[in-house]
Symmetry: C2
Subunit: 481 residues, 2 copies
């Protein structure tokens, strides 16, 4: 029987799934979990615990949940607590509003596929408050995290047009969800490079170069912009955003604005500008550009990744296409109702005069201040090392330093069949227990090497990590020089 051909084999498996790559959950991360087990089992290592700087996972790194959010969620799950004096009235009011809008008064029932009306309306208010321009709640589609929303929009483009594959422009370096999803959907990928020498800035001349190249092999139809940047940590200026919108208008591209780090801006002279706001304020003809903007409960100060909640705001979409988009989404039913409740709490935080206001602000600011401190620390430390340069982390939760690897290290890496930056990351992992992600997982200019580290470790551990890192790096460079 063993020799019988299985009906699903490597020869007849969907080739897109075979091809796709996702470095954030690749062999390095797998090895890190193996090491963690080995440590538990008492295997001797040059270190006693893993230090994870590989994932944008705030709570995993010791960040404490925001009390107000968890109070609201505890009550919607267990409504008997609505009478519990332990909980403040503003949290109770949010919980009641959510329960009243659930069918049967239970978060155990399905909602509309695009989310509860009350959540969508609250998100629209949140956007209006942020941008000072109107938002229509019917343009807000609640999703199982931003990743889910991004996939559902990209999926709309998955077809040939006039005999050409549809193409999507993505930044390099990028968050690997994009490259993997394009492969999955059979979409062509058009790389545009961020300019490391200009703090990972986005240069319109580079966009023009990239699209000209792209047009030789596909039909460019959309552009992805990540702001603040992942893995690169830059925050785009308003002028830069205007240039991108003009470019999209001229080339008739749909803009996908990944704005999940909008609350994570650390440099004093940087400010988050949403594509929606800038596009609206630019007026005609640029305010007709089709745009989907993505937000998530997983980042910011709340970091509630585990709840899988986010949304897309979709504007200027052809109404008939929108009907199809919503129909396509409806097959998968709604996203987690607790996730929706989480999104509601975040977009409807305690206001001045409400009982939780002070403590909410205090918790939120403590987290953002601490991130700011680490953001400053990270570039400073890496720039003080030999053979590393690092742009400032203006926003998001990452630094993406460049490492200048000695030719001997590159040679050894290649002899092991590894990308040089992945080889570096493996060495770091085995010697220090620090887990980062090699730059090749995100893309980089050929011949350059980087890695991504988060700034999410709590400050003391983060300091320890930077010390151990410095020691390792100095040793590594010395050994291979």
């Amino acid at each position: 029987m063993a020799s019988r051909q299985r009906c699903l084999s490597m020869d007849n498996l969907n080739p897109h799934i075979k091809e796709l790559e996702y470095a954030l959950r690749g062999p390095l991360v797998a090895r890190s979990f193996q090491i963690q087990k080995e440590l538990k089992e008492g295997v001797k290592k040059p270190f006693t615990q893993m230090i994870r700087a590989n994932a944008g996972d705030c709570h995993a790194m010791g960040q404490v949940p925001i009390t107000f959010i968890r109070q609201v969620l505890a009550m919607v799950i267990y409504p008997a607590f609505l009478d519990n004096p332990h909980f403040p009235d503003d949290a109770k009011e949010r919980a009641r509003t959510i329960l009243d809008s659930c069918q049967g008064g239970s978060v155990g029932s399905y909602t509309n596929c695009s989310g509860l009306e009350i959540v969508r309306k609250q998100v629209a208010k949140f956007i209006e408050l942020r941008d000072g321009v109107p938002a229509d709640w019917q343009n807000v589609i609640v999703s199982a995290g931003a990743s889910d929303a991004i996939r559902k929009v990209l999926r709309l483009f998955a077809c040939d047009v006039d005999g050409q594959t549809s193409g999507v422009m993505i930044p390099i370096p990028q968050y690997p969800l994009y490259s993997a999803t394009l492969t999955d959907f059979g979409l062509a990928r058009i790389n545009y490079y961020l300019d490391e020498s200009k703090n990972w800035g986005l240069d319109v001349l580079e966009l023009k170069r990239a699209i000209t190249e792209g047009k030789k092999v596909c039909k460019p139809r959309a552009i992805v912009v990540i702001n603040p940047g992942n893995p690169t940590g830059q925050v785009l200026s308003r002028q830069n955003i205007e240039e991108i919108i003009k470019f999209a208008y001229e080339e008739n591209l749909f803009i996908l604005a990944d704005e999940v780090y909008q609350d994570n801006v650390y440099e004093d002279d940087c400010k988050f500008h949403s594509f929606k706001k800038v596009l609206t304020e630019m007026g005609e003809p640029y305010n007709t550009v089709e745009l989907a903007s993505f937000m998530s409960c997983s980042k910011g100060y709340m970091g509630e990744c585990g709840f899988r909640a986010g949304y897309a705001e979709v504007i200027n979409m052809c109404p008939k296409v929108k009907v199809m988009y919503l129909k396509g989404n409806s097959v998968m039913l709604c996203s987690s109702v607790i996730g929706q409740a989480c999104l509601y709490s975040i977009t409807n935080p305690p206001q001045k005069g409400e009982p939780s206001y002070e403590s909410f602000q205090k918790e939120k600011n403590a987290i953002l201040d601490s991130l700011k401190l680490r953001a400053k620390m990270v570039a400073k430390t890496f720039n003080s090392m030999e053979a590393i340069t690092c742009n400032p982390t203006q926003g998001a939760m990452y630094a993406f330093p460049r490492i200048y690897l000695p030719p001997k290290a590159i040679e050894v890496a290649k002899s092991q069949g590894k990308e040089p930056d992945v080889f570096y990351a493996f060495e770091l992992l085995e010697k220090t227990g620090i887990c980062i992600v090699g730059g090749s997982g995100f893309g980089q200019q050929p011949g350059t090497y980087h890695f991504r580290t988060t700034i999410l470790l709590q400050t003391d551990t983060f300091k320890t990590m930077l010390e151990k890192f410095t020691e390792f790096h100095t040793e590594f460079i010395k050994n291979y020089s």
Copy 2:
């Protein structure tokens, strides 16, 4: 500007999304929500409230959540309650176990893409207990409901083989997730008809007829079986399952066993047999058949749809394919951790001797007993009406009665461009406020007409519905005869 061609239009939209149909969220359901709003606004109708029998949504229909499950979930969200004397120790123990296995001790962190190890291990134990045959936790993949798991398995087949489109056999009538997903992925659909005259039985001769037809236009690679049946409510006999497994073996088909209603069996001489158990017990060569079995937290006695949790158990999959399958899933990160915690609570219920055992059993049995009562009531009532026949609801949450529509009704329906059963459903909705789903949304033998009703309304309302339904139906048949 108005005349400018949008970059995403009906002409260049992914055609699969244009084509796909999903009756469970179509115009009828949209109209029902509109009517609900009109009622709130005071618009006069021949009824004062909507009666929803269209969705398998237990809590929406007034079913009360199981206390134990919600206690566990409240504590994992709000760990301060681990010290609250209100909660029983067994619920606390479950909550602690879940929190201990979360990174950073918070359900706000990401888990492994296939779910927390502790949840997968608990599910494997639950399967072993159910089937009496071994289950490997590494074959359990936690998902955002069964729909998510089903899509991820079907996606593996989305490619041509030897120049032929891959095909999947699905029952007719079927749950429309399947037809919609096949369209979405460009997979060919091979219909096999359930035999209404034999209580929606599954006849192997019909499978052979269907696959022979299918082979003329595609490469059949998988078969979907829904047991207990949705929308048809039948429970397959062990012998029938053995026949299907033999057929799958002979034709080298991958089996997708949709077993989300495994706890919903009402007739005394019916028993749920999992495909996994039957296949294993059949021994060689049948125990090598590739199988994915799906389960959900949304159905059964718990009905926690809003948490979006479920799993696939995948056996006999080629190990290399499995690596690809897991890699493909990993791009979407993990499913909701609260959903995972819900799955954990359901697969690890209070045991004899634990403090919540009695109350848990009482709540669970009350729900299942009440469903059983309504299951008996539904077929009896419909069979007492003129021009309707209805097979018994042996399991699941639905009846799928056949309506013998007068030719005049069919004529009027067609003149309005509606399917006759959809016309019937619209008339019922507008006249009585009862919302069901027309049979054409699930598929039916050409020239026959059906509808699906749930049995989820609480017993008093359910009785009222059946009375109003009888009245409407008598009137309808009279008017069109």
